[in-house]
């Protein structure tokens, strides 16, 4: 097998193997080191000797051996425990029985432990469940490797100090814990959802990784509506990637994207998933956002979009709690349905909202609506204000381009 093929295989098996090791031995950090060594051994041996019949079993055996060695040399008391446990079959499940999707979900829940800050949850998830190296995660987040190593090791310590155990949380804790997992997966996805290719190409891997992890979690809990909703939202959003940036021009807005370049299989999968989920599960914000993306995906152009349907979905979304970002989306949909003045009226109160008064998105939406309403001077001012407020380079390029168009440049 080619070394690329082996690498894919290892990546697929890594979280299962880690989950099995953690379940059997505890110690997320030592288990992870042992897994890395087993992966390294496999990467050198498999291309030459061939892939074993049970790749996961092979990895678990090699990592377990390594792990026992480490634990033995690190701690004599621990060694006695290991022997004790080994003499009592049934005390805990054997590590070399094939793990299931549930194990990966438990590992995800552990990495998204509430005692961690969001950046630490993201880092630990990518390291322990995603199987990315510390160097890869550091590169994706544009921070030094030493910083990322520090963040991951602190996160492990915190999880341990919080007394977290490798076990599915109780049914009454589970919804809250899954909500955190959803947030972390969505954070990873958005971090990778970069506008331009080229220097930040590696960030696309984060999007792919987020989708892969969400798929695993969805497989473990297929009836969890919001998990399915998030997966559908990611698929429908990621499908636009080939059309949302033009070389040297930064962002291409939704209205101007060449929709024939949208990735068809992802659109079909996302649409089927959200349609199925909406008819079965209790409604939630991720499902509604996916439904909005699905409506966009069905239209041949911005003008052909079923905007009244989108207005309806935004109204439902607002019932899940006040969120100024949702109001912005709602205002655009209302403007497309009832004209720009109706949209601008919805925006008005947001200018008094501290969270948004200095946010570039408010001015960007305002600029678009003023342009639609035939107020080029007002639009120009709002575009320039938005361009000054954003910290995103692709967004800034786009906003300046819109402003320049109004002045005839």
């Amino acid at each position: 097998m080619s070394s690329d093929g082996v690498e894919d295989l290892l990546r697929r098996h890594a979280p299962q193997v880690l989950a099995a090791l953690v379940r059997r031995y505890g110690h997320v950090d030592t288990a992870e080191d042992a897994l890395q060594e087993a992966l390294l051994a496999a990467a050198t041996q498999w291309p030459a000797d061939g892939v074993p019949t049970s790749p996961a079993g092979w990895l678990i055996t090699v990592a377990s051996r390594r792990l026992t060695d480490q634990l033995r040399s690190a701690n004599a008391a621990r060694q006695r425990e290991e022997r004790d446990a080994a003499q009592r079959p049934g005390f805990s499940p054997a590590a070399d029985t094939p793990p299931d999707a549930d194990d990966t979900l438990i590992l995800l829940l552990l990495c998204c432990h509430p005692s961690l800050t969001p950046p630490s949850q993201v880092a630990l998830t990518l390291r322990a469940v995603g199987g990315l190296t510390t160097a890869e995660i550091a590169r994706a987040f544009l921070v030094p490797e030493s910083t990322m190593a520090q963040r991951i090791s602190r996160a492990r310590q915190r999880v341990r100090a919080a007394g977290a155990v490798f076990r599915m949380p109780s049914e009454d804790q589970l919804p809250e814990r899954i909500r955190t997992v959803l947030q972390v997966l969505y954070l990873i996805f958005n971090e990778g959802y970069a506008a331009s290719s080229g220097p930040d190409l590696h960030r696309v891997e984060l999007t792919a990784e987020a989708i892969r992890l969400t798929r695993i979690a969805h497989a473990a809990r297929p009836d969890e509506g919001e998990l399915a909703g998030l997966l559908a939202l990611m698929l429908l959003t990621d499908a636009r990637r080939p059309a949302r940036a033009r070389p040297g021009e930064g962002l291409v807005p939704l209205a101007e994207q060449d929709r024939t370049r949208w990735h068809r299989p992802s659109l079909d999968e996302g649409r089927a998933l959200i349609t199925r989920t909406l008819s079965r599960a209790p409604l939630g914000p991720y499902q509604l956002q996916a439904a909005i993306a699905a409506v966009h995906s069905e239209a041949a152009s911005a003008a052909d979009t079923d905007w009244p349907q989108i207005v309806h979905l935004y109204r439902l979304l607002e019932r899940f709690g006040p969120n100024p970002m949702v109001t912005l989306g709602h205002a655009v949909a209302v403007a497309m349905t009832h004209g720009p003045d109706a949209g601008l009226r919805l925006l008005a109160p947001l200018h008094d909202d501290d969270r948004l008064a200095n946010h570039h998105r408010l001015y960007a939406v305002r600029a678009h609506l003023l342009e639609m309403a035939g107020d080029p001077a007002g639009a120009l001012e709002a575009y320039r204000r938005a361009a000054r407020l954003t910290v995103s380079l692709p967004e800034q390029h786009y906003l300046h381009r819109r402003a320049d168009r109004l002045t005839g440049h």
């Binding site: 800050t117 969001p118 950046p119 630490s120 880092a123 987040f141 544009l142 921070v143 030094p144 910083t147 990322m148 520090q150 963040r151 602190r154 958005n190 971090e191 959802y193 970069a194 506008a195 331009s196 220097p199 930040d200 960030r203 636009r240 949302r244 930064g250 962002l251 291409v252 807005p253 939704l254 994207q257 998105r361 960007a364 939406v365 678009h368 954003t390 910290v391 995103s392 380079l393 692709p394 967004e395 800034q396 786009y398």
Partner: protein, 131 residues
């Protein structure tokens, strides 16, 4: 989110940490001075261990600063920093933290914020959302 924190100070003698030389600091009771110095050390340990601190440096005395300008193709080099002010740039921290509130919280805990100021500059990112 990444932020650049610029730490300004107006010290009698340039020696780091600069705030230890500030006249207002020197006028404080000894116990308060010790407490503030401790807080500063704690802050640095905290952001180093949390992985929020990406980089940081203390800058040399403004006397050693040189400003380079190229006019009509010919470079000129002058002694001293660009702006002529009482407060000078004493050092910087490069952070990767949760958001503007956390960046401001860290800035407020830098002792020099009490005597001069700490500027918090968001850093531009390469990613963005379609509009």
């Amino acid at each position: 989110m990444k932020y650049l924190l610029l730490i300004y100070s107006n010290p009698e003698n340039w020696e780091h940490p600069v705030f230890l030389r500030h006249p207002e600091f020197l006028a404080m009771p000894a116990s308060e001075r010790a407490a503030l110095a401790h807080e500063s050390e704690d802050l640095h340990r905290e952001i180093r261990e949390s992985g929020e601190l990406l980089a940081g440096a203390a800058l040399a005395d403004p006397l050693t600063t040189r400003t380079v300008r190229v006019r009509d193709g010919s470079p000129t080099v002058t002694d001293g920093p660009y702006p002529e002010v009482k407060e000078h740039l004493a050092g910087y921290l490069l952070l990767d933290c949760d958001g503007p509130e956390r960046a401001a919280e860290i800035a407020a805990r830098i002792p020099d914020a009490r005597f001069a100021a700490v500027e918090v500059h968001p850093i531009m990112a390469l990613s963005g959302q379609e509009m």
